[in-house]
Symmetry: C3
Subunit: 359 residues, 3 copies
C-alpha cells in the first residue's frame, strides 16, 4: 500500500484517476468538441496535473500560473485554450478547447469510480411503520427513519444516518453515513448531507430564569431547498419563531454552522468553517471564504464576496468584496494594512514631532 514507511523521506505519491478503461486522444477530442493537435492515437489511462503527469495521463493548462509546468510536463495529452495551442512545451499532443476546466469535468466523470449502491432497505436499517418511502430508495446498514418521515423517490440514506420524525425529504436526497436530520426538517430534491452533517437542531436560544436559564422552544422550520449541499459535520439549526432557510442551489462546505432564523439565498458558496449567527440575512449568490463569521441580525447583500476569516459586524452591501476584521471593503482593508506597515517606521519620529522634540 502507498503510505510511506516511517523512516523514508516524504514522497508524495500520486495516482491519476481510478484506473478505468483507456481512451485515445482522438476520442477525447471528439467527446469534448476540441481540436486535436498531434498524435490522436495516444492512450490515456488517467488524469493528472502537469507537474506529475506521465505519458499515460491527460493533463490541462487552464491558467498562466502553470505555463512553466507545461513546458516540462511529461503528460501524454494536454487540454489547452487556443492561446496555448502553439505554446512551446514537451506535450505535443494537445486538445484545444475554449474552457479546459469544463472539458476536464466531463472527462473526470469517465475516470470516476462510483461508490457501489445497494438496492432497497438493508436488513439492519430501522424504519418506522408510519414512514413513507418512495420508489428506488436505498437505506444502508443501521440507517434509521423515524415516524411519519417522507422519503422521495431515489433517496439514498447512508450507513448510520438518522432521519428524525416528521421530516420530509424530496427526490434523490443523499445522506452520507452518520448524517443526522432532526425531526420536522424539510429537505428539497437532490439535497446532499455529507457525513456527520446535521440539519434541524433547535438553535442556541435561552432566556434567564431565577435558577439559571431556560431553553426557548423552537417552532420555526429548517428548510434546505433543492440542490443544497451541506459539507461534512456542518450544522444548520431550525428557527426559533421564524424559519431557517437555505436557498436552492447553495453549496456549503465542511464544519460550517448556520444558526437559527438565518436566511441564505440561492446559489451561494460558503467555504469551510464559516459561521453565520442568528437571524442574519444572506442574499443570493453570496460567496463566503473559509472561517468567515457573520454577526447576528446582519444583512449580506446579493453577490457580495467575503474574504477568508472576514469578521462581519455590520451590513455588507450587495455586490461588494469585503475582508478582514472588522470586515470592510477589501480595497480599504488593503490600504489600512499598507498604512499600518508604513506606520511602523514612522511611529517614533511622529511621537517626537507631536511632543515637539523636533520643533
Amino acid at each position: 500500500m502507498s503510505p510511506a514507511p516511517g523512516g523514508s523521506t516524504t514522497t508524495w505519491q500520486q495516482n491519476g484517476g481510478d484506473g478505468q478503461e483507456p481512451i485515445t486522444a482522438a476520442a477525447i477530442a471528439a467527446q469534448v468538441g476540441g481540436v486535436l493537435i498531434g498524435d490522436g492515437s495516444v492512450l490515456v489511462q488517467g488524469i493528472a496535473p502537469l507537474d506529475r503527469a506521465g505519458a499515460q495521463h491527460l493533463s490541462f493548462l487552464a491558467h498562466p500560473r502553470y505555463a512553466a509546468s507545461f513546458a516540462d510536463s511529461a503528460a501524454g495529452v494536454v487540454l489547452v485554450t487556443p492561446a496555448y495551442a502553439e505554446q512551446p512545451g514537451r506535450p505535443t499532443t494537445r486538445i484545444v478547447v475554449e474552457k479546459p476546466i469544463d472539458a476536464l469535468v466531463g472527462l473526470l466523470a469517465r475516470f470516476h469510480r462510483r461508490e457501489p449502491r445497494a438496492e432497497g432497505v438493508h436488513a439492519t436499517a430501522v424504519v418506522a411503520p408510519s414512514a413513507r418511502l418512495g420508489a428506488g430508495v436505498t437505506l444502508d446498514a443501521h440507517a434509521v427513519v423515524g415516524d411519519d418521515v417522507v422519503l422521495g423517490d431515489g433517496c439514498w440514506i447512508g450507513a448510520g444516518a438518522v432521519v428524525g420524525a416528521g421530516s420530509v425529504l424530496g427526490r434523490d436526497v443523499r445522506l452520507y453515513p452518520n448524517a443526522v436530520v432532526y425531526p420536522f426538517t424539510e429537505l428539497g430534491d437532490r439535497v446532499v448531507l455529507h457525513a456527520g452533517a446535521q440539519a434541524g437542531r433547535e438553535g442556541f436560544g435561552f432566556v434567564p430564569r431565577p435558577d439559571g436559564v431556560a431553553r426557548i422552544p423552537h417552532i420555526g422550520r429548517c428548510v434546505l431547498e433543492h440542490d443544497v449541499e451541506l459539507g461534512a459535520n456542518s450544522c444548520v439549526d431550525r428557527g426559533s419563531v421564524d424559519d431557517t432557510i437555505i436557498g436552492a442551489g447553495t453549496k456549503i462546505d465542511s464544519l460550517v454552522h448556520i444558526a437559527h432564523n438565518v436566511r441564505v439565498g440561492r446559489f451561494c458558496f460558503f467555504a469551510s468553517q464559516v459561521g453565520v449567527a442568528g437571524s442574519a440575512r444572506i442574499g443570493d449568490g453570496v460567496q463566503l471564504g473559509g472561517q468567515v463569521g457573520v454577526g447576528g441580525h446582519l444583512t449580506v447583500g446579493a453577490r457580495a464576496q467575503l474574504g477568508g476569516q472576514a469578521g462581519v459586524i455590520g451590513d455588507v452591501p450587495a455586490g461588494e468584496t469585503w475582508s478582514g476584521y472588522p470586515a470592510r471593503p477589501h480595497k480599504e482593508q488593503l490600504r489600512a494594512q499598507a498604512a499600518l506597515a508604513r506606520l511602523v517606521k514612522l511611529i517614533r519620529p511622529l511621537e517626537r514631532l507631536v511632543r515637539g522634540d523636533s520643533a
Copy 2:
C-alpha cells in the same frame, strides 16, 4: 413540499409554528398575565415575526428596531411592552406585558411539537450486561452502552449514540443521535449532547521521541456538570493530568472545541465555533462570541465578554468586554480601528513630514 423549484425566484416560505390547536387572544392574555387591548376572540394558530405574520398569527414587538414592521404588520395579535400599547399600527389586538420575549417563550412551548419518545430499550440497541440503567431510560435504535456504564433515571440515548465504558450519566441526560461519550466520562443531571457532540476524548498531547512523537496517556477526567448543553459536533477533551470540567448551567453551541485540562465556570455561554486551548481557565458567567479563540494556560475572568472572533493571547480581567485580535478592551479596539482608518489619509503627508519634505 415547500422547497421552491429550481427555476423560480427566491421566495422564503414561512410557517408560524407546527399547527397545534388554535387559542384565542383572550386566553393568551390570561396565560401570560397581560392586559388585552382589542378583540379577545381573535384566534391564533401559530407564531410569526411581525413582517411575516398573518391574521392567524401571534407576533411580538420587543425592540424599537422592529417598530416600523409593527406599523405594517398583518399579525392578528401582538405582544407588546407598555411603551407600545398605544403605538400606531395595523395590529389592533394587543397584549401588553412587561417582557414580551418571556411571555412568548411560555407560549412557544404550546406550539412546540415534541419529538416522539419511545419507551425502553430498542431491540437494536446494544447494552453491556454490566451497565446499570435507571428507571424510565430510553435507548433508541442502535444506541450502544458500554461496560459498567451508569445511566441515571430518565436518560434518553438517541439513535446511534455511544456511551463508552465506565461513564456515569446523571438523571435525564439527553444524547442526540450519533453523539459519543468516550469511556470514563462524567455527565451531571440534565446534560444535553447534540448530534455528533463528543465528550471525553483524550486531548492533543504528545512528547517527542527519537522516532517521532508519543501520545501522552490522559488520566484526567472529563466532567460536564448539571445542565450543561453541548451543541452539535462540539468536542470536550478529558484532562491529561488535571481534569477538564464544564461548570453547571453552561451552554455551548455547535462546533466548539474545549481542550484538555480546561476549567469552564458556571452559567457561561459559548457561541458556535469557539476554541479554548489547553489548561485555560474560564470564570463563571463568561460569554464568548462565535469563533472566539482562547490561548492555552490563559485566564478569562468571571462575567467577561468576548466579541466574535476575538483572539485571546493574554489574561482577560473579570467583567470586561474585549474584542479583536489580539484581544483587548473593546473600547481600545474601537479606538485603534478608528485611528487606523484615519491614518490611511494621513500616511503619505506624514511620511513627507518625517522626511522633512514639508519643512
Copy 3:
C-alpha cells in the same frame, strides 16, 4: 457523583488518575531513572498538578511558572529538574530527572485505565463478504465495512464507524465511534480517527452550468500515511485531480478541515479548528495554532510556525514564525500592533499637523 448540585458555588473537583495500584516513591525513581531525595517509602496512588495534589499524589515541576505552586504544594512526591532539587518548598520527597515531563509520560501509562477491547466481530457489525480482515481485528457494535475493504492486522473499528467500499487500512488502525472513512481512502499503519472524524469526502469543487452548478467528480486519492492522527470531527477531503496526502506522523486536533489536493508533510501539528484550503502545500514539521486558516494554492515552508488564528494569504517561508491577519512575521506583527496602540494617542495631533493647524 461529582457534578455539583445546581445551587452550590463552583467547586472544581479533581481526581489524580484512575485509581490503579499504589507505588512507592523509590519504585518510581527506579522506573524513571531519577535520583530520589527524601522518603522513598511514600505511597503514590495518583498524579495531580502541584496546586491540587495531596499526600497520595505524584506531581511535577517542569516550568519556572509553577515554582510558586511548588513552594506550597501538598504533593507527596514531585518530579523535578536538577535546578529545582534544592528549591525551598513543602514537598520533601523529590525525584530528580532531566526531563520531568518525559518521566511523567512513562508513569501516566501506569495510571491510565485502558478502554476495554472486545475480540473479533460484534454480532451487529455489518461486513461485506468481499472485505478482507487481518488477524486480531476488532469490530465493535454496528460498525460497517464495505465492499472490497482491506483491514490490516489489529485494526479496531469502533461502534457505528463506517469504512466505505474499496478503502485500504494498514495495521493497527483505530477508528473511534462514528468515524467515517469514505470509499477508496487509504490509511497507513497506526492511523487514528477520533469520533466523528472523516477522511475521503469528495472536496468542494463545482463548475458553473446554465442551470446552476455541477459538482466536479473527484478522482484524486485521500491518503493518510503512517501514524497520522485525526481529531474528533475533523475532515480530510480527497483530491479532485491531484491527491490529498497527510504525511506520516502528522497529528491533527479536532474540528480541522483539510481541503482537496492539499499536501501536508510529515510530523506536523495542527491545533483544533485549523482550515487548509484547496491545493495548499504544507511542509514537514509545520505547526499551526488553533483556528489558523491557510488560503488555497499557498505554500507553508517546512518547520514554519503559525500563531493561533493566523490568516495566511501568501506563502510562508520555511522555518519562520508568523501570526495575525494578514499573517506576517511574528515580530513585524508585534511591531505593527504596538505602533497602532501608540497611534491612538497621536492621531488627533497628527491630523492637526497635516492640516497645518499647528504650523
